[in-house]
Symmetry: C2
Subunit: 376 residues, 2 copies
């Protein structure tokens, strides 16, 4: 006999495997009945009126209950099942999915299998996705590495798909900078896919997060990459395509970013490079903002100049006086401004602002260029 | 004693030197009185009411009349003075200047000194400016060369400033493709500036056009480059910045393009390249359209899909049947469309369109890609 908590966990694990995600029909059944009763209804093939779609969606798998084994498998590798009942469920970021077109395989995940010491909601709140071609160029890898390092040192979580090419470089650079990074997988969190990234994935799981909506043991499959891409976008404040050829999977993640209202950036490259064609197309078609450096990526993720909610980044402004903080916040995230503008925005007199800026310049918070001030 | 025609030419030549261009005050005096009377009024220091500004503008030089020598100097090198009275005066392209902010050194030129076999109005009607850093990278030079060749073979006139770097590469590639090219100078059309481009400028003058609003012998000066840039933009349908650093003269030409209502494009490059910073900034700030190839540059110059007026380009559609031409014109300059869309736009039935497309594909006018059709 199991405790109520155990029963709940078993029910979620069962539901996580009983359909091929996403499944908005099952999602709304869970909303209505809760996990335990929803699972019981699926098993009994008896659902409330209006939820009949669940029967079709679960017809192939309802009789299989691997929930105990899945939870054991997860336990054994230090992974856990995170559901909407858990404190670390990233409810707000995932909300956009339930509002997105379900015909395009949208919909919230039923639950997420998570491996690693990070808190899922905190990583999502600080998430910026760096995605791109598996067949990246040396240039693309260099840019991905620079961006990931820069984001990581400011404690943004570098989100990607764990693949070869841009993904792997982004994860690695984040780890090398001792920053948070999250790999969202198209297979179970216990599978090393791609095989050549076994060590990288282990390292991400050891210091960041490996996440999947697929139960342990699930193999990667083409349609799962597309489904996974929506989670990469949903769990990030912004998506940046570092390199993409004419037909790149990154274009799919980019489309999800737009559908979910996430800021979309693309890095330009040589027009002679096939792996930048997709990026240039997105920029030329006004689908993506051209980004060139860490600063422009952060500006993309914080359109109002504010850091993301939740754990967010490690504010570089810790230790500033109240006045200095007001001055700091009066300087836009992008571009340089005159001292008069800062004084006006901060509601402080010029002398106070000048003194604060002088101290902040010494501490490296701001930079003076041609008489204008910008954040450093 | 001189003939009326000679008197007119002498008057224009005198007026061309009597102020530092542009001078809208002198321009409106010429509009009112014509060249001969305007010149006489300036010499006599007696202008109609409301035109007093001309006296200040001509105070330093009114007593000097080098018109005969200037015309002789021009003659000797096969150059000519083109004025609004001449058939080849590019009145329409220059009109935008008289409407632009004169405080920013706008205003139409009084006259243009022109050297070369090309017709100025025809070159302007087919003009596309390729501009960029003097300190161009190998990448920038490669792109400038590819674009200029591609434009030249379609008989677009490659307009630039004759400088080192992007300018020179663009002119050279146009010449190598046996296409029209026009160098707009910040000095007299008889000066080799820069000295290292003496042979290039002679070749442009031999097969294209070297143009200046400065009389023969005028030396290049910093303010003249800025003034010249407005003519580069005015005499082109579109301006493309191939490479530009953070502080590039190309940014000034780009600003003129926008002020004069010319389409502005910028070529992206590696974000690691200092000579692409200006291009990326213009694109990110939505000032310039990202262009990557000849096709996108031509699309920029023909926003409505139509070739420019005047001599324009050598239409690749010469020899098409009326129906084929309707089909051709129903395909947008950019992107691919379905046969149904073409039939709808052309007002033809699908069978007719299919047959026309088949012939046009063989002739290389159109390309079928994944069932969609685009111009080749």
């Amino acid at each position: 006999m199991s405790t109520p908590d155990e029963a709940e966990r078993r029910a979620w694990a069962y539901l996580s495997r009983v359909t091929e995600p996403p499944c908005s029909a099952l999602e709304s059944l869970c909303d209505r009945l809760g996990a335990v009763d929803a699972a019981a209804a699926v098993v009994a093939r008896s659902v409330p009126d209006g939820h009949e779609a669940v029967l079709d969606a679960t017809a192939a798998r309802f009789a299989i209950d691997r929930s105990a084994r899945d939870l054991d498998d997860a336990d054994r590798i230090g992974a856990r099942l995170v559901t909407r009942d858990d404190a670390e469920w990233p409810g707000w970021p995932l909300l956009a999915l339930s509002q997105a077109d379900t015909a395009a395989r949208g919909g919230e995940p039923i639950a997420l299998w998570v491996r690693g010491p990070g808190r899922l909601d905190e990583f999502a709140a600080a998430g910026i996705a760096l995605v791109g071609s598996r067949a990246a160029s040396g240039y693309g890898e260099q840019v991905a590495s620079t961006l990931a390092s820069g984001l990581a040192v400011e404690n943004w979580a570098v989100v990607s798909g764990g693949a070869y090419g841009i993904d792997g470089v982004a994860h690695r650079a984040a780890l090398a900078s001792d920053g948070p990074t999250m790999a969202v997988m198209a297979c179970g969190i216990d599978r090393d896919y791609p095989a050549g990234h076994a060590r990288l994935l282990a390292e991400i799981a050891g210091r960041g997060l490996v996440v999947s909506e697929y139960p342990p043991g699930t193999t990667a499959a083409k349609h799962r990459f597309l489904t996974r891409n929506r989670l990469v976008a949903a769990l990030s404040n912004a998506v940046v395509v570092v390199e993409a050829g004419r037909r790149s999977g990154a274009a799919n993640t980019a489309a999800w970013a737009r559908k979910l209202g996430r800021s979309l950036g693309a890095v330009p490259g040589p027009v002679t490079s096939a792996t930048s064609v997709g990026c240039h197309q997105m920029i030329a078609d006004d689908l993506a903002v051209l980004v060139t450096d860490v600063r422009s990526v952060i500006a993309l993720a914080t359109p109002d100049g504010a850091p993301p909610s939740g754990r967010g980044r490690r504010r570089s402004t810790d230790g500033l006086t109240t006045e200095a903080l007001r001055v700091h916040d009066a300087i836009p995230g992008r571009g340089a401004v005159a001292i008069e503008e800062i004084a006006f925005s901060a509601g402080l007199d010029i002398a106070t602002v000048r003194s604060a800026l002088a101290h902040m310049e010494i501490d490296g918070h701001v930079v003076n260029a041609d008489g204008l001030w910008r954040l450093s």
